[in-house]
């Protein structure tokens, strides 16, 4: 008799607890899913590879530049060399990459972070400039 009374007295508490546990479970699942989603897309600065060196060092750039100059110096035609050296650095770089390193336009575009159309445009414009310059000196 006492046990039955106890059950009736606790009935509200028991059903409330069951109700609460069910909803708490749902909240927990939702919270963990959200947290997991954030974790997947999160990169901590501490975890990134650390190096004191910048990705592209100035010495390397100078070396590249000198190398390109040397190869241009190998050109036998002195007039052509003069015309090439008369171009802008950016134009000369594209010509160097395309002719001596035999890189395609898309490769040059991805290397210099400009569009393929821009690379093509600058390349052919530079060639036209060289041609005009040489023709002009011929006359």
């Amino acid at each position: 008799m006492n046990g039955k009374n106890n059950y009736i007295e606790n009935k509200v508490q028991n059903t409330f607890t069951a109700y609460l546990m069910k909803s708490i479970h749902g909240v927990r699942q939702g919270y963990l899913a959200r947290k997991n989603k954030i974790l997947i897309h999160e990169d901590y600065l501490e975890d990134m590879p650390v190096s004191d060196q910048p990705s592209y060092r100035f010495e390397e750039y100078i070396k590249d530049f000198n190398r390109s100059k040397e190869q241009f110096n190998d050109l036998e035609d002195h007039k052509l060399l003069k015309a090439v050296m008369w171009l802008k650095d950016s134009e000369r770089e594209i010509i160097y990459l395309h002719i001596f390193e035999e890189k395609t336009f898309p490769e040059i575009a991805s290397e210099l972070l400009i569009s393929e159309a821009a690379v093509k445009g600058r390349y052919y414009y530079a060639l036209t400039k060289i041609r005009n310059r040489m023709r002009g000196e011929d006359i």
């Binding site: 007295e9 606790n10 509200v12 508490q13 059903t15 409330f16 607890t17 109700y19 609460l20 546990m21 909803s23 708490i24 479970h25 909240v27 927990r28 919270y31 963990l32 947290k35």
Partner: protein, 62 residues
């Protein structure tokens, strides 16, 4: 005081009754707020919020 009276008082937004219910269910909430062996304070707050909501939405059947 039995639980039903306490719940009815809490439903009427009696602060002491609400606090008493939160204290009563604290172990359950803390247990559910543990993630990978660590207590997650944010999750615990979410669960307390849920408890407060459930006090209001629970309907006592006779």
């Amino acid at each position: 005081m039995n639980f039903e009276e306490l719940l009815i008082r809490a439903k009427k937004k009696d602060e002491t009754a609400v606090v008493e219910i939160i204290e009563m269910y604290k172990p359950l909430l803390v247990k559910n707020a543990i993630v990978d062996g660590y207590f997650d304070e944010d999750l615990y707050q979410e669960l307390v919020k849920e408890l407060l909501l459930r006090i209001q939405t629970y309907s006592i059947l006779k």
